[in-house]
Symmetry: C2
Subunit: 196 residues, 2 copies
Amino acid sequence: MEFWFDFSSPYAFFAAQDVDGLAARHGRSVTWRPFMLAAAFQVTGMSSFSRAPLRGDYGRHDWDRIARAKGIHFALPPFHPYNALHPARTFYWLAASHPDMAKDFALACFAAYFQDGADLRQPDVVADIAADQGAPRDQALAAMAAPQFKECFRQATEEALAKGVFGSPFFLVDGEPFWGWDRLPMVEEWLSGGGW
Amino acid sequence: MEFWFDFSSPYAFFAAQDVDGLAARHGRSVTWRPFMLAAAFQVTGMSSFSRAPLRGDYGRHDWDRIARAKGIHFALPPFHPYNALHPARTFYWLAASHPDMAKDFALACFAAYFQDGADLRQPDVVADIAADQGAPRDQALAAMAAPQFKECFRQATEEALAKGVFGSPFFLVDGEPFWGWDRLPMVEEWLSGGGW
């Protein structure tokens, strides 16, 4: 199954904690696919949840209670939301060059941003996280600036839109689409052969 | 607890089937509150799910599979979405004059529209549904045109926005907000004293 997300999405942060475990319970593996949610917003006429009147307040309340329910720390950085191009480009570089590090890097980025307030707009900060996973720091910095991984991220975003992915997180299970963190129970039902 | 909805919302149709039973399992009752979702969209910058690129296709796929999962008939009318002011005004008239009929009327409107393709833009069609519940048909028609119930619906929409309600369905459990049909399991956890 595929897990599509934007690194700046709080609901993707929560989904990232559980999606691999959920899939594994049903003998499935998960391909993680960062994409640029803002590009999907342009197509669908949606806007950032965090910034919208009413929805932003609901989101902040909701993220805090989900964190409490899951017993994990959550602290939205003051500069939320951000353009997560550096984590995404680095992710695609790792997926190509050090595939065993890519998911741990993504989880570490989510934790750095949503739990420790790290400023992932800064390439240096993202490179440190890649280095923590054992990747060469200078190559990470080079990858973030390389046309190749910029293009990789752009193509991933195009692929997302072509597949009908318009939100974050978004799950495709053998092509069957599920939008939103709150659909993980339905994904699990589907994997259990719900039959509907 | 409060159940806020727009009569034109497919996810509200599904929620309407279950919300009273869910509440009753926890010794609670539900106050049904139609409001004008389009007014909330203006505040939050959202747009109609059904009409948006990508989201509309996802919605139609999702509603069909939810209906299959629940084993109920669902057929989106070709003129979906519609401005549900007549069902809403009639609902508030019934809530004031024949309160025991209001919920059954609402359920009958949902079924007429989402299962039988009835055109609830027509006052005559809505009046027939009210009459089926035992309400005086001519009074229903008069209520739909009366400034009093137009105002009632407007005030309900204002109250919704003041309470942070921006989507349909939306649940308030002692003030705790839950947006979306897919949050009913979380509402149930909350009512069970989830404690988070």
